[in-house]
Amino acid sequence: MRERYKPVYSGLSFSTVKEVRGPLLFVEAKGVSFGELVEVVSHTGEERLGQVIEVAENIAVIQVFEGTSDLEVEKTRVRFTGEPVKLGVSMDLLGRVFDGRGRVIDGYPDPIYVDEWDIHGAPINPYSRAHPSEFIQTGVSVIDGMNPLVRGQKLPIFSGSGLPHMLLVSQIVRQAKVRGEEEASIVVFGAMGITADEARWFKEDFEKMGVMDRTVMFVNLAEDPAIERLLTPRLALTAAEYFAFEQDMHTLVILSDMTNYCEALREISAAREEIPGRRGYPGYMYTDLASIYERAGRIRGGKGSVTQIPVLTMPEDDITHPIPDLTGYITEGQLIMDRDLYRRGIYPPINPLPSLSRLMDAGIGPGKTRRDHKQLSDQLYYCYAEGVAIREAAMISGEAGLTERDKLYYRFADEFERRFINQDPYEDRDIEETLDIGWELLEPFPEVELARIDPSLIREYHPRYRRRMG
């Protein structure tokens, strides 16, 4: 057992800061290695952490996680550690709250660590990955029925400002379970730039739910240094990997809000005077985000898993903005919150049409959920998409021209939102209940309209046949 992780200094220490630019320090120094952790000591003796992000023969560029305000060129000292940024790990992390760069902030003594892990992790060998296939029941119909979460998946929530993503995250944490298993998973919460109120709400909520003793929190608040946010998700994922791959446990990682993370990335890029990519975000943002999101997964023959639910707010609700766009290109689907559904009082306001779970096919079906799950959800997709299109057209040209068939779909769209998507934040529906609601909603359609479902499944699950069976 080791005491709290303290960097060992390589002995290199310089007070030759040449320039301070944005969150960056340019230091004249020799013998520095790329990526190493540094400690920056201000003229008042205050210590900050930084990391070498570029190094040339006589100069090192350092990003300072706490920002550079009040630092000056003359008296600032920089101590090099010769080591990467690390996190102390052990089972004692559970139940604890850390700040966004890994310092204890819950008022208790530092935990005992058994090891120190490089927070950047290493890529899982693609050959070693096990394809995720275990259905996690969240008890939320629009997720379980239409876009199910699977163990080892990364499934983000694309939200908008003011939308109830926190409520949904808390519901998922409370209700998520793998059927047939007793043990609940570890929760790792990485908060980037959330408000103190939100952080408090979460902690209290987790305590109320009784999950705090299997939770670790890394919290960077809105008023905390922005650059520190570059560390926070990596700390959270390192802790999660420790539980998953060293302790064989299942972990659920919540990362909120990734939009704030990306802002920090943009700030560094601007300070480095790099050629900006779309909307000022760096061209390497895809690769950088991938180094976070790809840390979800399972390993062949391994017992543990890392499942990620990153949350991000889409600036101006725009899904083509680089943050949601690049995220969607990396993650295994997305759950999209819709302001229009929210205004109409639907909770959770997740629009299933643009939402997606790419691991759905692997995670559902006989033995996992139910035989009819896939095709039923295909049919619900089709009917809802048709219904929404007809409803929109009717809003323009009136309802007069609607055929009987049109009206069926129109009505279905309304009912689907009211009865299937909509549910109470404390309502925990099991998958059978979710699927059965789906079938009930399809009942008004003649069978020829149910072309996405095999006749044998219709005979087995359609309420009309089930009633006949008695």
Partner: protein, 588 residues
């Protein structure tokens, strides 16, 4: 003499070396004390700019950089099929044996297993004259791949020795030849620089389709063997699933999948599937004809750049054996982004959206390595290239999509609105095209049906008309439609729902033989013909749509092929007869 220099700068995956005079462009180098692998991508004075294929954390100025005297190359020989490599051809299963479940740097295992023995059967006699591409003999690489042992393209001469039948490892000498007095030893493997296209005699026009078993593709937007395809589409529109489907069902001899900067779990999924699914007509899993090159988004970006070259070089190698090879790259955009990173670090003048000005040249070089050729040995082989493109925001006006469109012959435009309503494959039938329709026309007429083109064109015109009618409705409301126009809308819906839509995950629907494709479409058109007669005679459309035969047509896609063949005549007959009934009833 190998050049030695010194690291003077490290910035992410890019390293600058000083005192490096003598290093050559694209030379492979060893960087730092650990000797991690890099490639020279720029030279200026005595400085060399190097992209590093592995994690660079911990590297320091002052550490050594050493040239290797050779460019980045791949090993070509038996043992490729069924294997999974990273972007610079390190076998991932060996990396796992060496380092565990996480990738560690500094490991350089051989691409091909040195310990394994292959049974070699010779095909030539001693003292015969051989040249580049000549077949020296055969090795059964997998139960379905007869690997031809080729004389490397740049070698030739008189064969002084050829090994007798027997077991050989890839490094045993199996032939010796003499050229201009110099003795050359040949083994089961040779290496080839990835950035240099392998030579062939000449290209021949691609006029034979690569059958995919996907109705929308085989019917409307087919690709020829040796052709080029781009699949642009926003996230979630189905690029990857479509490429996986091709890897499974396309009738190529060899399928090469390059996972370039995409997801790890996807690759795990693909491996699972192709280890289970059998090659049609055999008892062997698809893995036996597949090569996987995988550099996921979180693996080093420079190796991502290399991965497409590694893939296409292996593709050309099998082509040179006279095989039809299908190469899929998912996604070319991630490769282009790697180029953009290089351009940014070298502080080159960027072109559009930060991409280097030579983006078009690089893409053109890549796609021009596709083609149907006569090999050096006089055989016919082909490389078909299918590249996914990931446009930001799903907007096709961006440089990678636009540049690709100028280079390729088949365009499968994937569409958010189709994907959101779960119409898959989400290939937009109005925007997509294939420039091989004419050249392959006679093949289809001979092999499938003489009226193939007529059927295809009629179906397409129905879909076009649907679009026009929709615009009309949006403008004037549905009341303006005539009964015949309403019928067209219904038929179009059937073409979309019962024919175009095809689930990649349904055990039967996922693969549709050409013959079934043809008959399904023809049946819908026949239904249209009969229904429009009925409508003209005054039968109401609503009444017609209640006919049970329609439900039967709706479910044709999930009828197994054998059953389908048996039932097709009956269904056609019923279409005729039922209509007679309806018309008769109305009149009577």
């Amino acid at each position: 003499m190998l050049v030695k220099g010194t690291i003077s700068r490290v910035a992410g995956p890019f390293v600058t070396a000083k005192n490096a005079t003598g290093l050559r462009m694209y030379e492979l180098v060893r960087v730092g004390e650990e000797g991690i692998i890099g490639e020279v991508i720029g030279l200026s004075g005595d400085n060399a700019f190097i992209q590093v294929y592995e994690e660079t954390a911990g590297l320091k100025p002052g550490e050594p950089v050493e040239g290797t005297g050779r460019p980045l190359s791949v090993e070509l020989g038996p043992g490729l099929a069924g294997c999974m490599f990273d972007g610079i051809q390190r076998p991932l299963h060996i990396l796992q044996d060496m380092a565990g479940f996480f990738i560690r740097r500094g490991l350089t295992p051989n691409a091909l297993d040195r310990g394994r023995k292959w049974f070699f059967q010779r095909a030539v006699k001693p003292w015969s004259k051989v040249s580049g591409g000549s077949v020296l003999g055969y090795v059964d690489e997998t139960p379905v791949v007869k690997h031809k042992v080729l004389v490397p393209p740049d070698v030739g001469g008189v064969l002084e020795y050829i090994a007798p039948e027997g077991e050989y490892s890839v490094e045993d000498v199996i032939a010796e030849l003499r050229r201009d007095g110099e003795k050359i030893r040949l083994k089961l493997i040779h290496s080839w620089p990835v950035r240099k296209p392998r030579p062939y005699k000449y290209k021949i026009p691609p006029d034979i389709p690569l059958k995919t078993g996907q109705r929308v593709i085989d019917t409307f937007f087919p690709v020829a063997r040796g052709g080029t395809v781009a699949i642009p589409g926003g996230f979630g529109t189905g690029k990857t699933v479509l490429q996986h489907t091709l890897a499974k069902f396309a009738d190529a001899d060899i399928a090469i999948f390059v996972g370039c900067g995409e997801r790890g779990n996807e690759m795990a999924g693909l491996i699972d599937e192709i280890s289970k699914l059998k090659i049609p007509g055999t008892d062997y899993p698809l893995m036996n004809r597949t090569v996987l090159i995988v550099n996921t988004s979180n693996m080093p970006i420079a190796a991502r750049e290399a991965s497409v070259y590694t893939g296409i070089t292996i593709a050309e190698y099998y082509r040179d054996m006279g095989y039809d090879v299908l190469l899929m790259a998912d996604s070319t955009s991630r490769w282009a982004e790697a180029l953009r990173e290089v351009c940014g670090r070298l502080e080159e003048m960027p072109g559009e959206e930060g991409y280097p000005a030579y983006l078009a040249t690089r893409l053109a070089e890549f796609y021009s390595r596709a083609g149907r050729v006569v090999t050096l040995n006089g055989e016919e082989g082909s490389v078909t290239v299918v590249g996914a493109v990931s446009p930001p925001g799903g907007d096709f006006s961006e440089p990678v999509t636009q540049t690709s469109l100028r280079l390729i012959k088949v365009f499968w435009a994937l569409d958010f609105s189709l994907a959101h309503r779960r119409h898959f494959p989400a290939i937009n039938w109005l925007r997509s095209y294939s420039m091989y329709l004419d050249s392959m026309r006679s093949w289809y007429e001979r092999q499938v049906a003489p009226d193939w083109v007529k059927v295809r064109e009629e179906a397409m015109s129905i879909l076009r008309e649907e679009e026009e009618l929709r615009e009309l409705i949006a403008l004037l409301g549905p009341e303006v439609l005539t009964e015949t126009q309403k019928l067209t809308l219904e038929i179009a819906r059937m073409v979309r729902e019962y024919f175009l839509r095809q689930s990649a995950f349904h055990p039967i629907d996922s693969y549709c033989p050409l013959d079934k494709t043809y008959h399904m479409l023809r049946l819908i058109l026949k239904l249209r013909e009969k229904m429009s007669i009925a409508v003209e005679k005054g039968v109401s459309l609503a009444e017609l749509l209640k006919m049970p035969i329609i439900e039967e047509i709706a479910r044709m896609k999930i009828i197994p092929y054998d059953e389908f063949k048996k039932s097709i005549e009956r269904v056609e007959y019923e279409v005729d007869r039922l209509l007679e009934k309806v018309i008769g009833r109305e009149k009577g």
